[in-house]
Symmetry: C2
Subunit: 396 residues, 2 copies
């Protein structure tokens, strides 16, 4: 029986291209999976086997749930309205319990390996593999004294890195969002293909990209006891700050030295950038403004200056960021790029916070770029576009 | 609410180390997940939320299903008997429908992203990251004329590859099993750590390892219509052979030239090996014996010569493998290593087939190694041990 199972599995790879009605299996599917499938209008059709379930839903994160309909064969199906192009996380709710769709590859988000579906964007090829020279993505491990653990990161090296052995490269540190991990920018974001294509068209300089694991717990420190502590309590804020400062120390004391000693980098601030999405944007602002000796390019994708964005405060340029913004001319000389991005359909609080930061910077006459991704929300299509706009401005 | 969710998620990373009863979260968990957890005796405790389900089971592949017990809080729990050390695939059966455990990372096996649990092997550190120089694992993409598609492979480069820029390295092509993919040897097998440790102790030569995607469909060929065709039918066998020969052509005409032109290899048969597990072992025997001009080291891990292993035939050394075995002395001169491995508790048919092949080779006086992994079955712990025994014999 095992032989039969494996053989049928192998043969199923042949059998998924029959799409008489214009729907095709999503590129995010595991091989052989006919569903979920998408049509050219961006609609997605889902199917899952759960013959004994009473209620099954497709749970698009941050959007409405779709009730699936039970078919006579025990399969549940539903077709969505047209979806915004790009990558969408989803899970299935089986009688209210949340699981990934066995037909989809998983992508780390929301703190777990969740399902995802890619909706093609008509005419967009900048994040697809094309017949141009390709860089490589490497997994690295480094032993961090800050956390006392082995830490895993991904590193993109540009085309030619292995052959041009005298060349040294600038480095972009690029961070994932909350609930995601170091694999997000490659698997969901396709940062490697975006850079391959930008480099091939000479729109961006060849660069190394380092994607770190954005969580950190300091070696030897006890777990904080947050039992019964409400959201926003001093104990909770302290724990969050402790994690953020541990990440900052790990990045600046362990990861950057590791990268500079293991890769052919130009190891100075003029050739080092940092950007991140959502939580990674906040980390970027904290790390770079604490270490302007290390960084000269700064990018916040749908998330930037923490309380200033999420709260209601306006930026005080004299006080913010250790006074780095107090003298706009000095700042522009020192920081080659300050870049903010937001999707036009992001949740109101997020959007308003970033617009407020943008306005504050304008009023303080701080040079910066403010980019708006049309029609996209707090999602990977926004951040792919951000990277496509941001990367060409680096190291010029 | 979103902010609260993410904050709680982040903080949950602090809170998983409380293990008053000797159980600890499995290393295969997503961060913050307290379950599944394992104790030093190899028992595993599972927990899943499914308040409206009528029956929930833990489904260990190739082993018994464990009935979970519903708790008053809507969680289902169960503790296993002691498990064999190593990596085990599993899924959850929720009222008979199969899903991955949201608390586990996923690992590609059985044609999908399935859950896995790592049971530590007391005293075994050879597949764990240690404080030795680490190689890197790279993702590469190559455009194959054979399949007409972009293909993805992983490549391990040994420690020093980036700094010793005049050095050239031998290459091991290492294949996954049926239902798995090119990520298996790293994520489940930990081949990178095994080699790091072997190289650090000077037990194995520094080498490059290439892990290819083991499925292939020839460009422009129509899908075979296997509707209603029984297992083993001529149509099905033809489809399987077509896939195998397409893989062989892709490997020899596309992947090997790509690797030799993109990495600092020693591009000759004396410095090229191939091995694989299960289906990958069959592929290894097909590819290497068809191309002894390309390979001189051959390894079959729990799967080797196809029909000879799975069927009842004894090996005919005069006819098998294009007559390569007809002259044992000539064979030993030409093929530097022929290596077979099997776990002592593998399914009887698999074990008997490999033992029969071993005996046939002995009778034909064909130099080879036959390795038995004690107490392990058709599973990753067998294949980790295989690699640990096999790799030191290469390129000496």
């Amino acid at each position: 029986m095992k032989r039969i199972g494996i053989a049928m599995l192998l043969l199923s790879t042949f059998c998924w291209a029959q799409t008489p009605d214009g729907f095709e299996p999503a590129s995010t599917n595991v091989w052989g999976a006919a569903y979920p499938r998408v049509d050219t209008g961006g609609r997605a059709e889902f199917r899952v086997k759960a013959p004994n379930a009473g209620k099954v839903q497709v749970n698009f994160w941050g959007a409405a749930k779709l009730d699936m309909v039970k078919q006579p064969d025990g399969m549940w199906t539903v077709t969505s309205e047209p979806l915004v192009p790009g990558f969408h996380y989803y899970t299935l709710l089986i009688d209210g319990a949340e699981f990934s769709d066995p037909a989809s590859h998983t992508f780390f988000g929301g703190g777990k390996d969740a399902s995802g579906i890619e909706i093609p964007e008509p005419g967009s090829t900048y994040y697809l593999p094309q017949d141009v020279p390709h860089g490589a993505v490497r997994e690295i491990w480094y032993l961090s004294k800050v956390t006392g653990t082995w830490r895993h990161a991904l590193v993109y090296t540009p085309p030619g890195y292995d052959t041009e052995t005298k060349m040294r490269y600038p480095v972009l540190y690029l961070q994932h969002g909350g609930g995601e991990d170091e694999t997000g920018w490659i698997r969901q974001g396709r940062a490697n293909f975006i850079l391959d294509n930008l480099i091939a068209s000479r729109s961006a300089k060849p660069m190394i990209i380092v994607m770190a694991y954005g969580y950190a717990k300091r070696a030897g420190h006890p777990d904080p006891d947050l039992t019964g502590k409400p959201f926003g309590s001093p104990e909770m804020m302290k724990a969050m700050q402790e994690m953020a400062s541990t990440f900052e120390d790990d990045m600046t004391q362990e990861l950057i030295p590791f990268v500079d000693s293991h890769f052919r980098t130009v190891a100075d601030r003029d050739h080092r950038a940092m950007a991140g999405l959502s939580m990674g944007g906040m980390q970027t602002f904290q790390v770079t403004f604490d270490h302007l000796d290390l960084f000269s390019y700064i990018g916040g994708f749908s998330g930037a200056a923490g309380p200033m964005v999420l709260g209601k405060e306006k930026l005080d340029p004299k006080a913010a960021f250790h006074g780095a913004l107090a003298d706009p001319e000095a700042f522009s000389t020192r920081v080659h790029l300050l870049w903010l991005g937001v999707g036009t359909t992001e949740p109101a609080m997020m959007k308003a916070g970033l617009e407020r930061l943008h306005t504050s910077l304008d009023e303080a006459k701080i040079n910066h770029v403010f980019y708006e991704s049309p029609g996209t929300s707090h999602e990977w299509q926004t951040w792919r576009r951000d990277l496509k706009d941001f990367a060409p401005r680096l190291f010029q």
